[in-house]
Symmetry: C2
Subunit: 477 residues, 2 copies
């Protein structure tokens, strides 16, 4: 029996029918699609290294402590690994609808909190793996992510199909007195840990927990600087429903770098400028681009404190960035963002890393989780929500990855939204491509494509400004 | 503004995360699949006749009365009409998994309570329409069912695609005082209606409500005769989870009739004998076929009271049937069921109709709903659950039906299960075929295929007994 961490228990507790606390992603592979049984075999052979994936959450009686993780005696891999297809010809629009639908469904609390979907029939013979994992599984999963477990760095390394059943047998379900007694011990532990949550104090032993807490602390600090709160007159923020929309576009990392080289700033600045243009287009089309309107985005970034040299590792923190949506001139827009980022680096006494290109010590999915978790935590707890949207910008591997002998050709990132925030943008780089994944609330963001188109346009106008013609990857989605 | 009927409100109230109160069906058509936009057009042009499909449920403040139906100002047809596909080659096993998954998801209470799924990629170029409609919509929908609205009796009658938008505008949402005042009036009405629920009293104005209440009354009566209650030692009944499995098989109606002609009894008796053999096989494979074990099935049937002559219409009522699962000899099994049915007809003073062949005044989907509703109502309210399973046997049209110019080649019926009942069987005849659709609880019925195979075997052995070789339709599924 293992008690859930304080933080994970919190993610479980704040989930309701509107805010889904699952992390997701969509990995698109070249064809042909593998047989379902082959994927089943690959996942089955990865399971022995993924303890949490066969455990479920068990509440402690009378709410006397944090929930515990127990082996699921009814674990059934075929429940979790699902098989579906897009209707012919497998258009991106159908993939968008599918991602949106799958993200709108909560995970079953009575089972291990994950689903993996094999999606066949994408145009051009492609197929996809969609992952859906509850936030509260992060601590136990560590770096050994499910998606990672069946990804390889070499084509044809081949899945360990046909490996005989491992000798996993579910442990007995703890019940009654043992749980209650342990709960009291847990409470004491919790109090100590809460006391240690004072900003600046690093919590051990888990660097994960430390990272997340630092992000929350960082946010609080920046929030004070900015003055927090404030009301807005745009429809970008507001209440949400349980259903989601999803859309994305992909650009070449080299295109972003060429713009940066010609116009100055970081790739991060260029990305933010493109997103700003996207929101500008959305607000324009909704007739809401009032004078002086600014959108504030939370941007989790990698911070390297000045007093730390060498291998102390990256820190994750968060910045508020004001997206200058009313600025019409693309050069001015980029310059404004660059100035803002530079100022923030100055005032925060830290160097905001350029996450798109500088992969840190964290595995990308984990970084995405840190960002996501922190955002959800803040959105769901604070009464004053000091930002309108979120922009998670995460570096991925710049080499091709494979699964079951097929190359992964796109990696679509997903960021959850939460009450008060109707749109979020996740940015992920992978093997020379950068993908912008946009999550929208279903009812209030029917025009999600306008935003995505605006991001593409924003990049095109910057390339034009830099005297560049687009290379490599044509915008898609 | 329209108040929900007493009965419908009850169906809404008893729904929880384990018992889903939606009615479903899967209509399989010959290929090629129509374009999604064509289906969209067909449904859109049917909507003006389906008022409820653009209305949502609104609760009355402080629980002061039954909920009301209000127009959904955010109605979005594309949310409700969904598009998906089976992974290639579109095996029945994948369709089974899809039906099970879709049935496991509750409908969103904030929206009109229905979904229609266009499923492409079934083997042989076939496609399907899956309907999912909440029980509480029945009264308002009347005979004009959504599936019916886009089915035609002639090929190529053609959907009314391209019909211009109807002039539907959502009515204003009632709120506050008006709701509360109306609620009090509603309460008075409810009391009167409850008072009238005494057995034998026919309720007006709705024959639907009358039918359903009669079914409940009928059950109560038979239950008294049977002695009710009792414990069982089989795993057929017991608690359920939120997830479902689905499986089916199809036989030729003529085969059933030939067996009946050779061995006596009704088609209904033959159907029950086949199902009994199915449960026998399931219990055998689970090692639970103890001496003296009997399963009791609720069987909603058409009853024509003796004192009514002529066109008074069918009545729906319910019988308990003891399925003689321990009897090994097929002839003896059939004879036992026949004797039982004959006795019941005698003791109830009514003629239990042979529903497979005698289509009554009700449209088949409606009959299915009546049966389903009654079963759920009884299962979820009674403390003593006097039966182990349910067998709904409903006649469908014996002519081919079409949609968007494609012939419907199979009609798979679905019956919900409820707390205490892990397996249910729905039987539906359509155009010379009879389909047995089996619903099982996901966790406790992993061997649903054993039951389905047993039903097929049960029919085969009866045919052999009758000196018949199978005709027409080979068993599928």
């Amino acid at each position: 029996m293992e008690r859930m961490s304080f933080l994970d228990a919190e993610f479980l507790a704040i989930e309701d029918h509107l805010a889904h606390m699952h992390i997701a992603g969509c990995n698109i592979f070249e064809g042909p699609a593998p047989a379902y049984d082959d994927v089943l075999g690959a996942v089955r052979s990865a399971l022995p290294n993924l303890r949490r994936y066969r455990q479920r959450v068990k509440d402690v009686p009378l709410g006397l402590g944090r929930p515990v993780w127990v082996d699921d005696p009814h674990f059934n891999l075929e429940y979790h690994l699902r098989h579906t297809a897009l209707p012919a010809p497998g258009a991106d629009s159908d993939l968008r609808a599918l991602v949106g639908r799958l993200m709108s469904q909560p995970l079953d609390r009575q089972r291990p909190l994950w689903e993996l979907w094999v999606v066949e029939g994408l145009e051009g013979g492609r197929w996809a793996l969609m992952t859906k994992v509850h936030h509260c599984m992060v601590d136990g999963v560590s770096g050994a992510d499910l998606a990672y477990a069946i990804l390889e760095t070499e084509r044809g390394a081949g899945p360990a199909i046909g490996v005989s059943e491992d000798d996993w047998r579910p442990s007995a379900d703890p019940a009654g007195l043992a749980l209650v007694l342990d709960a009291w011990a847990g409470l004491v532990g919790d109090s100590l840990r809460v006391a240690r949550k004072i900003p600046g104090t690093l919590i051990h032993p888990s660097r994960f927990v430390a990272g997340v807490r630092r992000l929350a602390d960082g946010l609080a600090m920046v929030g004070r600087v900015e003055g927090g709160g404030g009301t807005h007159d745009s429809s970008i923020d507001g209440s949400i429903g349980p259903h989601r929309r999803y859309d994305w576009c992909t650009v070449a990392l080299d295109d972003l770098k060429a713009v940066k080289d010609a116009l100055g700033g970081t790739v991060n600045d260029v990305v933010l400028a493109a997103i700003t243009r996207g929101f500008r287009e959305l607000l324009l089309s909704r007739g809401e681009l009032a004078d002086g309107l600014e959108l504030r985005s939370l941007v989790p970034v990698s911070m390297r404190p000045r007093d730390e040299h060498g291998g102390a590792g990256n820190r994750v923190s968060a910045l508020f960035v004001r997206l200058p949506v009313t600025v019409e001139d693309p050069a001015e827009r980029l310059a404004g963002l660059r100035r803002q980022m530079d100022e923030m680096k100055e005032s925060e006494g830290a160097e905001a890393g350029d996450l798109v290109t500088n992969a840190g010590d964290f595995a990308p999915p984990f970084l995405m989780r840190l960002a996501t978790q922190s955002v959800l935590r803040i959105m769901n707890r604070g009464r004053v929500r000091p930002f309108d949207t979120v922009t998670t910008n995460v570096p991925g591997p710049q080499i091709p990855l494979y699964s079951l002998g097929r190359e992964m050709i796109e990696w679509l990132p997903f960021v959850p939204i939460a009450q008060g925030m109707r749109i979020g943008v996740a940015i992920l780089s992978y093997n020379g491509k950068v993908t912008f994944g946009v999550t929208g609330d279903y009812d209030t963001t029917p025009d999600i494509a306008v935003l995505v188109h605006g991001i593409e346009e924003g990049l095109r106008e910057l390339q034009k400004l830099a005297g560049q013609a687009p290379q490599g990857v044509a915008p898609t989605g």
